[in-house]
């Protein structure tokens, strides 16, 4: 059971309080009517499914209810960064380098 830090509650809690929401930083196009069919399919379905360092969405659904983002090594399950929704995607390469990956 993972241990997850909620950047809003500012505490670490057991995974059972959270729900993973998949890949982070996939913004819904501001004007969907202008999106091509390909763009829309990309937005709906295409995910990188990274083996390694990846940013993903989590929701503290049995806590403060907030969505936030986390950088996790999907191989080791280690979390390398937690940040609030709306903050920019961190430099994953720099994080990987720092973690010795």
């Amino acid at each position: 059971m993972l241990l997850i830090y909620c950047p809003y509650c500012q505490v670490e809690r057991a995974e059972t309080e959270f729900h993973c929401g998949g890949e982070a930083h996939i913004a819904r196009p501001a004007d969907p009517s202008k999106a091509s069919d390909e763009d829309w399919v990309e937005f709906l379905y295409m995910r990188t499914n990274t083996k390694g360092i990846a940013a993903e969405r989590w929701r503290h659904n049995n806590g403060c209810g907030r969505f936030f983002n986390a950088v996790r090594d999907t191989v080791s399950d280690k979390f390398l960064k937690f940040y609030k929704a709306g903050e920019p995607m961190p430099d994953l390469e720099a994080i990987a380098k720092e973690a010795g990956k």
Binding site: M1, A14, F43, F67, A85, G86
Partner: protein, 1000 residues
Amino acid sequence: MSQPFRTEKGGRIDRAEQLSFTFDGEEMHGHKGDTLASALLANGVHLVGRSFKYHRPRGIISAGSEEPNALVGVYRHGDQTPNLRATQVELYQGLEAISQNRFPSLGFDIGAVNDSLSRFFPAGFYYKTFMWPKSFWDRVYEPIIRAAAGLGKPPKNPDQDSYGNIYAHCDVLIVGSGPTGLAAALAAAETGAKVILCDEQAEFGGTLLSETSASIDGKEPADWVTETIAKLSAMDNVTLLTRTTAYGYFAHNFIALAERVTEHVSKPDPKLPRERLWQVRAKEVVIAAGSIERPMVFPENDRPGILLAEAGRTYLNRYGVKVGHKVLVATACDTAWQAAFDLADHGVEVAAIADMREAPPENLVSIANARGIRVESGCVVTGTLGRKRVKAALLGRLMTSGQVASAGQIECDALLMSGGWTPTVSLYSQSRGKVVWDAEKGAYVPGKSVQNERSAGAAKGLYGLQASLEDGYAAGEEAAKAATGKSAKVTYAASTGGDAGSGGTLGAIPHDRNASTVKAFVDYQNDVTAKDVKLAVREGMQSIEHIKRYTTTGMATDQGRLSNMNALQIASGALQRPMTEVGLTTFRQPYTPTTFGLFAGVARGDFFDPVRKTPSHEWVVKNGGVFEDVGQWKRTWYFPKNGEDMHAAVARECKTVRDSVGLFDASTLGKIEVVGPDAAEFLERMYTNPWKKLAPGRCRYGLLLNDAGYITDDGVIGRLADDRFHVTTTTGGAPSVFSTMEDYLQTEWPDLDVWITSTTEQYAVAAVQGPKAREVIAPFIEGIDLSADAFPHMSVKEGTFCGVPCRLFRISFTGELGFEINVPRRHGKMMWETLAKEIEKYDGTTYGTESMHVLRAEKGYIIVGQDTDGTVTPQDAGMTWAIGKKKLDFVGKRGLERPDMIADNRKQFVGLLTKDPKVKLEEGAQITAAGNPATGTPAEGHVTSSYYSPALDRNIALAVVKNGHALEGKTLYVPMPDGSIPVEVTGTVFYDKEGARINV
């Protein structure tokens, strides 16, 4: 009373307290402090089971949880728990145990014929023999295999015990309480860190409890243990757990411990759980799990009476039990010599020490000589005699050529063996650490830490008492420092004796026997021999992972802790590749077999899942209503009257609603209050429908899609004020709709000034439906003009019901005049009972979810999740009317414009009428164009809803069918085992097509 193999004195058993127990019905005696294994051995019983495949007689081999042979069933509450290791079962008065894998008795076993036919049971036997024909698997092969093999028998009755759970946090968790673990606990506890120390055994101390030839701080090791435990238990920051196995090491330093709370008690207090699951989050972990001794792989190394040397020593020193009267010690390392010396000191005849090394250490030889023990060096065991108990061993001399020459036969009634030691790296391996080969130690040892843990002492291949203590202290200090930043000055204890010793061997022991006929066991429990491992290699298995699965070596309850290293060495020899290139199988959770009860914990019976009830529940129970489970909710399914069956009850309920009035509990529907200046804008973006122009006091049906364009939920939404909406969702969809709304609000449109609050449980909801609905509610409603003009269909207003505030909706899911009354939850019971009484005046009825389904199906209203399956668009469902045509965007709008979503051939929602009105279709049944389609013809669609309609007095169905909207009036077929059923495609509204009944 006689325990012929009990020593005169010594051991940690309570000789004053004699206990009686039975094994396979035979009464025997032992003492408090015994395990079942030690008590059996005290009675001279070695034969305790039959092996898995060959049903060979097997005896106790170890004194710990790695025991592969002595698996027994123990009775509790009149039923037996299978596969308990006799070495871990603590003796209590009246214990009843049975052996396993034998038929009809342990002494005479029919399955043992497998042993003489063993050339037909080689490695990969199951894969080879039972391959073809496939259909034989279910009916022929599997039953035979299951009857002949298998470990124990499952209990027959529901488990009568309870199982506890506790979540715990600590700074330092220490696994194992031998010298290393105790030293680590002392050092960590001294810093003030929160420490949990656990050990799988009944007593703390590990090997120190059987160590009689060493001292710590000038004390007997066992006395030092007692003092240390007393010191630790006096500290508030220390939790001590005996009988507690750390069986799983998971991500983020989450460790699961299984505590056996009453397993060892004769008459357990029913208030206590049998076992308790500790779910521990530790900042740091010290793995002080020690090491285990390796068996020697010589021919017939599996006879009862053959044990590991240290086990023999443990039975002697800790339990006061001699494993035999004349004991042969076969070894490749120093430590086994001490077992021989201790036995000799207790007056046991040591037949010989056969050490395969050319020159065992001289000091050991001289101690042996002093005791008059015969020493054979460069000597191996090449076979044993005796069927149910070893009675002699064949010796062989190792020649410089690598050959073995016979060295005669030696009589013995027990044989102690030691191939050396293997560090217990299971937990480290579970923590995702990668073990590394240490050539000097001849062992795999923990490599880099992946999580916040450190192995210490023998668990990392560091042997010897003083070294173990020092490593333990250091590990405890470091762990505490890492966890809390604090340190403390700890005085290390000083010890004498318990030296590390040298030596050890891996793989098969050379012999002079016929290699094609003898059996030298590598994995006792799974009956895997050295020959099987070699055969697997010959047949093409290259990786140890393949060899493991082909031969089943290492797949026993000890996960290969006894067998892996020998198997690896044999495989490496056969593959002619270095051992490190053959690989090592991964140790996985659980470390030892763990009960299902422990995993289930409190999640059984009434507490398996929350059972959510509505305020009408009590009334329904009293009035004979029948419930159905809708997720966690109990909803009333139907209300049988005067012995009605379901069909009759539902027919009556439906008819009564259409003729007069019905009362329905709608409390479980999800409710979300959407509040804020941007509330209408938010709903505009979420739902397909337009909301901005909806006037306060009015309602609208809302359809919710996902961004792909598929229907995910629906419900009626009422506008209470400019900035306040009361949204309803389906019962099952409530949590996901709420979460989806939060998702869009928080992450896509954080600038919107609107917030959502779940009010599902704030209100109890009664639906009153039918021509008399208005008359029924009118006496109780105040503050709302109920007339059709003032309060038309799709209205909402706040008023009071019997004086309590209510939100009244005029809506209908039946096609009749209908109201839904929301009152604060605590008044729900009052509201229900008031209305249930009032409807009697109109010969009305309460009705349940089944009638609700029928009534809505007669009107062609969809149920999301029944008529839709996540691939249905509003167009498919014939609900384009619900889409706000002028809206630039809403969730799903862009999705609906994708080519696939507007393509021909999509499955569309239609009605079906069977040509024979009495025939009822099966929900889920496939629909075809031809009456007797060829095998493999794809279906045109399937039936989603099917009911008998009381209003039409015939069966009706709803379905999704390819291009269904264009097929109205056409005939399709529903092929069933008894023949194809012809159906006519119709519109989805079967009753009151004009919708006149709703606007009265």
